[in-house]
């Protein structure tokens, strides 16, 4: 490209300003990427939810328990392939800041319903044989450096405050990218034997596996009708709807992120736009000379746009590199407070696209000004 020399020479004419603009661009893009990652983390449950799964909770609320006898009744509904039930254990491992979700599971059906959460057969068989057995998600196991065979004490906060002992029999991995690998599973029978009477023979929620996703509406309606007017009415919805509802419990995360993201976007637009406007104003006479010797208005516009897009590319690339390095560290620091923060390829592409868009838009106004510059007036100003 024969104009490369001219574009880059102009770009580097004020090195400090160039570096500061790149720096502010990079930091803004780091923030933007972080926000996008957080948003993605919260909505991941919705995105990766099984289309052929329903969640059944008490109509009164998530914390209200339901009889364990519902499992067989749900299983009898046509279109239901399998049902598993879960309970929230709500324990603390060593310190309250070490949060991870602990679920009391139904070993009989867990693997048939949650097919994407894979446990090796030998580990699973050991788990089934061990009443105090537990399975941990790979992320949680890695976080606490657990190995199979470790004894893990968990103090319950809901069921008397005593410490329950578990043997780590297996580690599960999610087959879906971005799947939840933070859970800790314990056996329902062990829980039921040791839980207070009020909690015995209950389930926190049911997860229903369907024969076909097309049956979702019909089966959900059938389940809720089956338990209508009973002491424990149910509310059944698709797993993705449940995940979305669950995220809403944190507040309107999407609006919050969108608001901060918009502020970042406009700030970045103003910073880069201002830099380009100053840069163009400083060399009005040079642009006029270019036009005098035969460069068209469009060529001048192209030069300005190319400069702002290159600034955006440099800044954007740096910002994404920073995000790539920082997000795992931030994610680790926020473990337990936020879902896993994953910087995916699609988010990196989105970040780069965002950078280019901001670069293009911010160069547009100064570029149009340069394009419309009247040579005679500009030269007279010299």
């Amino acid at each position: 490209m024969k104009f490369r020399g001219l574009i880059f020479a102009n770009l580097f004419r004020k090195k400090v300003r160039f570096l500061l603009t790149i720096g502010s661009f990079a930091l803004a893009l780091l923030l933007f990427t972080f926000l996008a990652v957080v948003k993605s983390a919260f909505s991941r449950g919705t995105e990766i939810a099984g289309a052929d799964r329903l969640i059944v909770v008490s109509r009164i609320g998530l914390m209200q328990l339901m009889p364990i006898s519902y499992r067989d009744k749900i299983l009898a509904i046509p279109g239901v392939k399998a049902v598993t039930h879960n309970h929230w254990f709500g324990g603390v491992y060593q310190d309250e800041k070490n949060f991870f979700p602990q679920f009391v599971i139904d070993p009989e059906y867990q693997r048939r319903v949650m097919t994407e959460l894979v446990v090796p057969d030998d580990q699973w068989n050991n788990f089934l044989k061990d009443r105090q057995g537990a399975i941990a998600g790979a992320r949680t196991a890695e976080r606490f450096h657990w190995k199979i065979g470790d004894r893990i004490p968990i103090r319950t906060t809901l069921y008397g405050g005593s410490s329950w002992q578990f043997n780590l029999d297996g580690i599960y991995h999610s087959e879906r990218a971005g799947g939840d690998e933070s859970q800790f599973w314990l056996q329902w029978k062990y829980f039921d034997e040791n839980a207070p009477d009020a909690v015995k023979s209950t389930a926190g929620w049911y997860v229903v596996k369907l024969d076909s996703p097309d049956d979702a509406v019909r089966v959900a309606k059938a389940i809720d009708e089956k338990f209508a007017n009973s002491s424990f009415e149910t509310k059944t919805e698709t797993e993705s709807a449940f995940a979305a509802y669950f995220v809403k419990q944190f507040g309107n995360i999407e609006l919050l992120i969108l608001t901060i993201g918009s502020v970042v976007f406009f700030t970045l637009l103003l910073v880069t736009g201002n830099t380009m406007a100053i840069s163009v104003r400083e060399r009005t006479s040079e642009l006029a000379v270019l036009k005098a010797i035969g460069f068209s208005g469009r060529a001048v516009l192209f030069f300005v746009l190319a400069e702002s897009v290159i600034i955006a590319l440099f800044g954007g690339f740096l910002g994404l590199v920073l995000a790539y390095l920082a997000i795992p560290v931030i994610g680790l620091a926020l473990t337990g407070l936020l879902p896993p923060l994953i910087l995916s390829k699609s988010l990196l592409t989105l970040g780069l696209g965002f950078a280019l868009f901001v670069g293009g838009v911010s160069g547009l106004l100064p570029g149009i000004g340069a394009m419309r510059l009247r040579v005679v007036n500009a030269l007279r100003r010299v």
């Binding site: 024969k2 020479a9 102009n10 010797i293």
Partner: protein
């Protein structure tokens, strides 16, 4: 031959007829040029003189297609430029006009070589062909050894010589010089004028120059004065053949 009576030959390189230029300054209308006529043949060296505000630079801008007249016509090499679109005029300037400004107007972040190469970037010449042209132009102005220097590393006279190289590198039909020695000391000014004269004598370049300096104006073949918006011939100098004695 230079004529200002509007009766020049139709074969003249530059033909200006009834050129008018008015400006609005607030509510006041300023009539800078009024029915100006001019005929310039190829290879002529014309100096325009006149008091400040007489319209010298305006005339140069109109001849260079940088501004449009209020009335009248300008024909260069058979091209009527007064009715060209902005885009066409830009292309026309690139092909036909070489500009030399008082303040040199080099791009400070480009080397002498890159500054001279600028007009060639608009052509379809290859990199090697551009290099050849640039080296020739810089050699012509005596700066072959300063190609990699930036404007800040050159003296005023050298900067203006780079500007002249930039103006001639694409072999334009004519050169427009706006006070080319206005920012130079006498010695440098003499060198620049010698260079411009050489372009006229040896390379048959047509040069139209605005100047305040009578000494500089004397170097031209013809000096024209702008008075009340029209041109008046002030004097002609006998053309001296290349290598001859003035």
């Amino acid at each position: 031959m230079v004529q200002v009576d509007g009766h020049g030959a139709t074969a003249s390189l530059i033909q200006v007829r009834g050129l008018d230029k008015k400006y609005k300054r607030g509510s006041e209308e300023i009539h800078v040029l009024q029915g100006l006529n001019l005929d310039v043949d190829q290879g002529e060296f014309v100096a325009f003189m006149g008091p400040s505000g007489s319209g010298k630079t305006t005339l140069l801008n109109l001849l260079g297609g940088l501004d449009v007249p209020s009335a009248g016509s300008i024909v260069v090499s058979g091209d009527e430029i007064t009715h060209m679109s902005r885009g066409k005029l830009t292309e026309w300037r690139a092909r036909h006009v070489g500009f030399i400004f008082q303040m040199y107007n080099l791009i400070p972040v480009l080397t002498a070589y890159q500054n001279v190469e600028l007009p060639l970037l608009l052509t379809k010449l290859s990199g090697a062909e551009r290099r050849k042209h640039v080296e020739t132009a810089l050699g012509l102005v005596g700066l072959a050894d300063r190609m990699r220097h930036y404007p800040r590393q050159l003296s005023g006279g050298q900067e203006q010589r780079v500007a002249i190289a930039r103006a001639v590198v694409s072999d334009p039909t004519f050169l427009l010089c706006d006070e080319p020695t206005g920012d130079l000391d006498r010695k440098s000014a003499d060198e620049i004028m010698a260079l411009i004269e050489r372009l006229v004598r040896e390379y048959r370049k047509t040069v139209l120059m605005v100047t305040h300096d009578p000494v500089v104006a004397q170097r031209a073949d013809t000096t024209l004065h702008l008075e009340k918006g029209a041109l008046v011939e002030a004097g002609q100098r006998r053309r001296v053949p290349a290598g001859g004695v003035a």
